[in-house]
């Protein structure tokens, strides 16, 4: 049974470009929301781009449009110099995709899942080799339903690696995993990157973005609100450090009082604690201690740290990256 789309196409010569993925003016609307509202996004070859954003920011919608799974309502996408309308199969042969919520058939064994996915591609890796890469060799005969969350996620990434892709798309690959499982997955991704692979990943985790990404896009309500390398993003904050503490029993200072301090840039509450982004750390701490002595305040759990992407994010959106 042949269909029009089944005719093999000679791979069209890819235009010379160092962009693996390029998107211009992407828009996706749903009945009651504009999920993606005019996003431009480029991924250079052999780099890792991280897309950060809170729940519902439009990360999945964006990445799925780039993967050719959703049609944008407006905008242009090229992947490896090709467009989804023209060279669909050709692109698919050369990218690897892990979806945020894809389940495999429960009663399939690890190697059966890999063998199935391998059969879709003309060229690719050996499944034993992939099992080695994702560290599931001992689990080759285990049912999918008996795998831990981390193992299942690695299998999912393994399926995305089967065709030796040029680009790897990962949608929240480590959400819900414990730190150890998360690190194991990072190793797989770093290994792929070390071999010259290009990665586009979405995440809620700053740590993940800082560790893996060369370039970060911060999304909120379907728009890119900041973009740059982790360092340059932190630099835009203009803060030297972040000072964090809680008031113990007794008196406390209000947010206004604190922002009146010399060298304080911004103040916010995070649960019980106060978080200050500051320009001159030492001065601010000195003022805090003065106030504590004169006004009889109890300072608990005082910490300072360098600004993180989380701080950048919060200062830009007033929201934390995760709901919890």
């Amino acid at each position: 049974m042949t269909t029009a789309q089944a005719t093999p196409q000679a791979p069209s010569p890819a235009p010379a470009t160092d962009l693996a993925v390029s998107a211009r003016g992407l828009v996706k609307r749903y009945a009651d929301t504009v999920a993606v509202d005019g996003i431009d996004l480029d991924v250079r070859r052999a780099t890792c781009v991280g897309v950060l954003g809170p729940n519902g920011a439009g990360k999945t919608t964006t990445i799925e449009m780039l993967e050719g799974l959703k049609n944008p309502d407006a905008g242009e996408i090229t992947v490896l110099g090709r467009t989804w309308n023209g060279d669909r199969r050709d692109i698919q042969e050369r990218i690897g995709v892990q979806l945020q919520e894809a389940e495999f058939q429960d009663k399939l064994k690890v190697f059966e899942v890999l063998r199935l996915f391998r059969s879709f591609f003309q060229n690719g890796a050996d499944i034993d080799q992939i099992m080695e890469t994702i560290g599931l060799t001992e689990k080759r005969g285990a049912y999918v339903k008996d795998l831990s969350g981390g193992q299942r996620q690695r299998l999912s990434v393994g399926c995305a690696l089967l065709n030796n892709p040029e680009i790897l798309f990962l949608d929240e690959p480590t959400t819900g995993l414990d730190p150890q499982a998360r690190r194991r997955l990072w190793e797989v991704v770093e290994d792929f990157k070390a071999k010259g692979g290009t990665i586009l990943l979405t995440t809620h985790y700053m740590e993940e973005a800082e560790r893996l990404a060369d370039e970060i896009f911060i999304l909120d309500r379907g728009k890119v609100i900041a973009q740059g390398s982790p360092e340059s993003l932190k630099a835009t904050l203009g803060a030297e450090s972040v000072v964090q503490f809680t008031f113990g029993d007794g008196n406390a200072l209000s947010e206004q009082d604190l922002s009146a301090f010399e060298g304080v840039q911004s103040v916010r509450r995070e649960g019980a604690s106060m978080v200050l982004t500051v320009v001159r750390t030492q001065e601010v701490i000195a003022q805090l201690f003065d106030a504590a002595r004169t006004q009889n305040l109890l300072l608990d759990d005082l910490r300072t740290h360098r600004p993180t992407l989380e701080d950048v994010f919060v200062s830009m959106t007033g929201k934390t990256l995760r709901d919890e």
Binding site: M1, T2, T3, Q5, A6, E67, G68, L69, R89, Q92, E93, I95, V97, L99, E101, A102, E103, F104, Q105, K107, L108, E112, R115, L116, F117, R118, S119, F120, F121, Q122, C159
Partner: protein, 347 residues
């Protein structure tokens, strides 16, 4: 065509099914059991005696005449009213009592609309005639037909095979697709270069893997246990079943191609299967419908399958004589598959 991917998709389907014992039961064992039970139930559709209610008191002659007839079971009631209640319920096929005056003939009440009652009437009449003047039975040589091939069960069995091809094909495929939809697995496949036709074909293929197992079980049950004659060629029979199975799994894909839920699938499934259950000659010949309807009924997929199976099994016809039926089946198979491929809801 990408053969490795068709092979792997099929293998995964088959494994998935084999590893769900419940699914195996409902999809495969259940239809076989159903066919077996129906087959058994209709196997000895031997003549049932008529039950006649007799109102007491009655003359000895009348009682004896009825009692001596082996095709009549006699029940007695003390009053007409009492007996009439049983007649109304259908517990007796006819109700008889002595006439009022000495010479009056007995009175027989029966429901003209019931075939059993008409039979009962004839039997009572014959019993009474014979009692009056023995040896006056009609001058006909009676030849009860016991030859295999012309009993009801012989007619029924190919219909059951057809029904089974339809039920198993459609439920098996329809549910499998609904189940895959539920799991969001489909989206994962869509970001690979997998051909959509391979995916849909794998459902038909996995159906065919089980088909032969099923056919061997069902057919040997029919032939060895029920004594159904098998007059035509085995190859012809298998080819018809094969085409039938492909056709019905194609129809199953089509039915499941838009529905989002299992409930949706079963609804449409019933809507599609019910008319064929009734009008495609499973339990009774579609000849019973008005003549003008026959050409239309013959275009139904199950009618074509049943007609071809009967012709081959019972009449020993060759495949060549079944070309029109085969064309109907083939056209349905291709049509369903192509339309399903067009309208299938992948997201």
């Amino acid at each position: 065509m990408n053969l490795p991917e068709i092979k792997e998709l099929t293998r995964v389907r088959v494994l998935g099914l084999l590893r769900e014992p419940e699914a195996v039961f409902w999809v495969f064992a259940f239809p076989i059991i159903l066919a077996a039970v129906l087959g058994f139930a209709f196997r000895s559709a031997g003549v049932k005696p008529s039950t006649i209610g007799l109102i007491e008191p009655a003359s000895q002659m009348l009682t004896q005449a009825l009692e001596s007839d082996e095709q009549i079971d006699l029940e007695t009631y003390p009053s007409w009213d009492e007996g009439f209640k049983q007649l109304r319920k259908g517990a007796v096929d006819g109700l008889i009592m002595e006439g009022g005056e000495a010479d009056d003939p007995p009175r027989l009440a029966y429901d003209e609309a019931r075939a059993e009652a008409t039979t009962a009437r004839l039997r009572v009449q014959r019993a009474l005639t014979l009692a009056k003047s023995p040896g006056t039975d009609a001058p006909i040589d009676l030849e009860p037909v016991t030859e295999t091939g012309s009993r009801y069960i012989d007619f029924l069995f190919p219909g059951l095979i057809g029904m089974n091809l339809m039920g198993t094909g459609m439920w098996g495929v329809g549910f499998a697709i609904a189940d895959i939809r539920r799991k969001k697995f489909l989206r994962r496949l869509l970001v690979t270069p997998m051909r959509k036709s391979s995916f849909l074909l794998s459902f038909i293929n996995s159906r065919l893997v089980f088909l032969f197992l099923e056919l061997i079980l069902l057919t040997s049950f029919g032939v060895w246990v029920l004594g159904i004659p098998f007059r035509g060629g085995l190859i012809a029979y298998l080819l018809i079943c094969l085409l039938g199975a492909m056709l019905f799994s194609g129809l199953g894909i089509l039915v499941a191609s838009r529905a989002r839920t299992i409930e949706g699938v079963s609804g449409i499934m019933n809507l599609v299967m019910m008319p064929m259950w009734l009008a495609s000659g499973v339990f009774f010949s579609y000849e019973r419908f008005p003549d003008w309807l026959h050409p239309i009924l013959q275009l139904l997929p199950l009618t074509a399958v049943n007609d071809a199976l009967r012709a081959v099994m019972l009449d020993g016809e060759s495949l060549a004589t079944q070309i029109p039926e085969l064309i109907v089946m083939g056209v349905w198979a291709i049509l369903c598959f192509v339309v399903a491929l067009k309208i299938f809801r992948w997201e």
